[in-house]
C-alpha cells in the first residue's frame, strides 16, 4: 500500500513489486547494453535508446507489416505509475504504433524521476491527445482464457524488461521527450 505522499524510494519499491507480480523483469542501467548483446546477434533488434544498437533501422521501414520479424524492441517509456506498474508510451516513443505489440520481446527504459504514485497523477501529467495513439503498458502480453491459467505471451510480447535510470525526485521530471 502506498503512503499518501510517497518518497521516491517508496514509489520505486511499489513499482518494482507490482511489475514483478505481472512477470516483468528488471535490468540495471549499466547492464542493458550487454543484456541486449546477449539476446543474440542473429536476432532482429530495434532500438531507439542511445547506447543500445539495433540490427534494424526504423528509418528503413515503410509499412508496419515489415515489423513482423522483430524479436526485440528497446524503447523509452515516458512515465511510470507506481500503484500498478503502467508505463506510458506515446507515438513519439514507439515510432510505429504496432511496434510495442508485434515485437516478440520488449524492453522499456524509464527515468526514475518519471515515476508517479497513481493513475490520477498520471493523467494529469500526460496529454492523451498529444499524438494520435498512446498506451499504458503494464506487463508482457498475457491471457487466462483457458481455465483461468495464466499464460504469458498471448498476442503481444512474450516478455517485458524494465530499466530504471537516473535518480528519483520530482524536480527532474521532464515531460517533453
Amino acid at each position: 500500500m502506498l503512503p499518501l505522499d510517497p518518497a521516491p524510494t517508496e514509489l520505486e519499491h511499489a513499482f518494482r513489486e507490482v511489475l514483478a507480480a505481472s512477470k516483468t523483469r528488471f535490468v540495471e542501467e549499466g547492464a542493458l547494453a550487454e543484456h541486449v548483446r546477449d539476446f543474440g546477434t542473429d536476432k532482429t533488434i530495434v532500438s531507439t535508446v542511445a547506447g543500445v544498437s539495433g540490427t534494424l533501422n526504423l528509418a528503413d521501414i515503410s509499412d508496419p507489416l515489415q515489423l513482423a520479424g522483430v524479436d526485440l524492441a528497446v524503447l523509452h517509456a515516458r512515465l511510470g505509475v507506481a500503484e500498478n506498474g503502467a508505463m506510458w508510451l506515446s507515438e513519439t516513443e514507439m515510432v510505429y504504433r504496432a511496434l510495442p505489440f508485434i515485437t516478440q520481446h520488449l524492453i522499456l527504459v524509464l527515468d526514475r524521476a518519471a515515476l508517479v504514485p497513481t493513475m490520477h497523477v498520471a493523467y494529469r501529467r500526460i496529454d492523451i491527445r498529444q499524438t494520435g495513439f498512446g498506451v499504458f503498458v503494464a506487463g508482457p502480453s498475457k491471457t487466462a482464457d483457458i481455465e483461468q491459467s495464466l499464460v504469458i505471451g498471448a498476442h503481444g510480447p512474450r516478455s517485458l524488461t524494465v530499466v530504471l535510470r537516473g535518480s528519483g525526485g520530482e524536480e527532474n521530471f521532464n515531460i517533453s521527450p
Partner: protein, 457 residues
C-alpha cells in the same frame, strides 16, 4: 421457449462441473477482494465512478456532441446508429468502400449484441475474433458465457479437442501454454492479412475526442495497428467527460474484473494512423429507452467489469448461457427485461436478492433493487410463472395480517417438523432440489422476546 430455471436445470445436471464452474468464478471474485484491499480509498473511488457516470447520464447529449466535435477535429469519422441493423449496415458500408473481405475483431459486447459477425458473414466478409476466449467460442459456434472471460464454461480438454480439430494441434493436448501458443501462431497470420480491424470501446473521452480500449492480450492493438482501416463500436453510454476521469475508471475496472491492478494494455486512440482511416460508430439500440425508465436508468452506468457475475450465487451455479442474453448475470438481468419483457422477464427472478452484486459493483448500480423492481413489473404484466405466483399469493395474504402471521408461523414450525419430506422435496418445488431445510426452532423470535422480556421485568 425455455425459462432460465429450465436452462439452469440442464446446466446443473452435471454436478461436479457445476461445482467447478462455481469455484472458478469465486476464485476471480476472491482475487478482486485481495486487490481492492490494497486501496484504502476504494469506497471513495466507487462513489466518484458512480457520480461521474450519473453526471454523464444526465448530460448524455452534450457529452456525445462534444465527443463528436473533438473526434472529428482529430480526423476521426463519427457515425450514429439508432439500432443494431443500422450499426451493422454502417460497419459493412465502411468495409465495402475499401473492398475489405476479411477483418479481425477484438472483444466487443456491443457487436455481440448487434450480431455483427453473422451480418458480415452473410455479406461475404470473414470475421476473426482475436481475443483467445472469443476465438474459442467462435470456433465452437457459441455465444460468450461471460463478458470478461467468454470461455469460462469450458474445460481445457474441450478446448484441446476443439483446437485439434480446427487448428491441428496434437491430439489429447490440453496444456493451456501449448494451446495459447497454437492460437498465437494461428491468429498472427490473421493479423498480418487483415485489411480492417474492429474493437469495442471501454471509454470515449468527450474532452479529447478519443476512445480507450483495455485488454490483456494485446489483440485489439495488433488488429488495429496493422490494418489500414480501424473501426471502434460503442454504446452511447460509454462517453465520459474528461481525460482525468480515466484515472478513476482505470483504477476501478481491472481490479473489479480480475483483481489485476490495471489491464496490461490501456490504449488511447485519437487519430488515424498515417495513411489510415479511423471510424467510431455510436449506437443507441434501446439505450435511450432505458435512460427514460426512472427506476432502471442507472443500469447504463455499467462499465462491464463482470464482478456482479463472479459474485452471483445464481450465475456461478447456472452458467452464462442459461441467461440466453448477450450480457448474462445480474446486470444482464436488469438490462434485458427492458428489451423484451416476455422473453427475459423471468431473469428478474434469477437472483436470491442477496445484494452481493450491488456490493461489488464499481459504479454502485443498485442491481438487486432493480431486480426487485422488475419483478413487480413482470408480475403486473402477468408473465409470472405459476410456481412462483402461488406461494407468493399466500405470502401476501399472511404478511398483511399480524395475527395470522403469528399463527401461521407457529403452524409452520410445527408442520416443518412433522411434514413428510415430500412436502418440500417434490417436483413442484425446485428450491428443495439441492437444499436441506434448517433446523426448526421451538419458538419464534416474538415468543422468545415476550418470554425473556417478562422474566427480566
Amino acid at each position: 421457449m425455455t425459462t432460465h430455471a429450465q436452462r439452469a436445470a440442464t446446466f446443473l445436471r452435471d454436478e461436479p462441473r457445476t461445482d467447478w464452474h462455481d469455484q472458478s468464478l469465486w476464485h476471480v471474485r476472491s482475487k478482486r477482494d485481495g486487490s481492492i484491499a490494497g486501496i484504502p480509498e476504494w469506497e471513495t473511488l466507487r462513489q466518484l465512478g458512480s457520480d461521474i457516470k450519473d453526471n454523464v447520464l444526465s448530460h448524455l447529449d452534450t457529452y456525445l456532441e462534444e465527443f463528436e466535435r473533438q473526434a472529428t477535429a482529430n480526423g476521426v469519422v463519427v457515425h450514429w446508429a439508432r439500432d443494431a441493423a443500422e450499426h451493422n449496415r454502417i460497419v459493412h458500408g465502411i468495409l465495402e468502400r475499401h473492398g475489405v473481405d476479411r477483418i479481425v475483431k477484438s472483444k466487443s459486447m456491443l457487436t455481440e449484441e448487434c450480431h455483427l459477425n453473422q451480418y458480415l458473414e452473410e455479406h461475404g466478409v470473414e470475421v476473426i475474433d482475436t481475443d483467445l476466449g472469443e476465438r474459442i467460442i467462435q470456433l465452437r459456434g457459441e455465444p460468450p458465457s461471460h463478458i470478461v472471460m467468454p470461455a469460462i464454461h469450458l474445460k481445457k480438454e474441450e478446448i484441446g479437442q476443439l483446437f485439434h480439430e480446427q487448428l491441428g494441434t496434437d491430439v489429447g493436448a490440453s496444456d493451456p501454454q501449448y494451446l495459447t501458443e497454437a492460437a498465437r501462431q494461428h491468429l498472427r497470420e490473421k493479423f498480418l492479412a487483415a485489411k480492417a480491424g474492429i474493437t469495442g470501446v471501454n471509454f470515449a473521452v468527450a474532452e479529447t475526442g478519443g476512445i480507450v480500449v483495455c485488454t490483456n492480450e494485446g489483440n485489439a492493438d495488433m488488429g488495429i495497428h496493422l490494418a489500414p482501416v480501424q473501426i471502434h463500436c460503442m454504446g452511447i453510454e460509454k462517453v465520459i467527460p474528461r481525460a482525468e476521469h480515466l484515472g478513476v475508471f482505470t483504477r476501478l475496472l481491472a481490479r473489479s474484473a480480475t483483481g489485476q491492478p490495471v489491464t496490461i494494455y490501456t490504449s488511447h486512440h485519437h487519430a488515424p494512423k498515417p495513411g489510415g482511416e479511423m471510424h467510431v460508430v455510436i449506437v443507441d439500440n434501446g439505450r435511450s429507452e432505458q435512460l427514460g425508465r426512472e427506476d432502471f436508468r442507472n443500469s447504463l452506468k455499467c462499465i462491464r467489469c463482470g464482478a456482479c457475475m463472479n459474485t452471483c450465487p445464481i450465475y456461478r451455479r447456472s452458467g452464462g448461457h442459461s441467461y440466453d442474453h448477450t450480457i448474462p448475470g445480474p446486470i444482464g438481468s436488469i438490462l434485458s427485461p427492458g428489451l423484451d419483457l416476455k422473453k427475459h422477464g423471468d431473469l428478474a427472478f434469477a437472483s436470491t436478492l442477496c445484494g452481493s452484486c450491488s456490493d461489488v459493483c464499481p459504479v454502485k448500480i443498485d442491481i438487486h433493487a432493480q431486480l426487485y423492481k422488475w419483478r413487480q413489473i413482470v408480475s403486473e404484466a402477468g408473465h409470472l410463472a405459476s410456481t412462483k405466483r402461488i406461494p407468493l399469493l399466500g405470502a401476501g395474504a399472511v404478511l398483511s395480517r399480524g395475527g395470522l402471521y403469528n399463527f401461521v408461523g407457529k403452524a409452520a414450525r410445527t408442520a416443518l417438523n412433522l411434514a413428510p419430506r415430500a412436502v418440500v422435496y417434490n417436483r413442484f418445488n425446485a428450491w428443495g432440489e439441492s437444499r436441506e431445510l434448517p433446523e426448526v426452532p421451538t419458538e419464534s423470535f416474538k415468543e422468545w422476546y415476550d418470554r425473556t422480556q417478562t422474566s427480566e421485568a
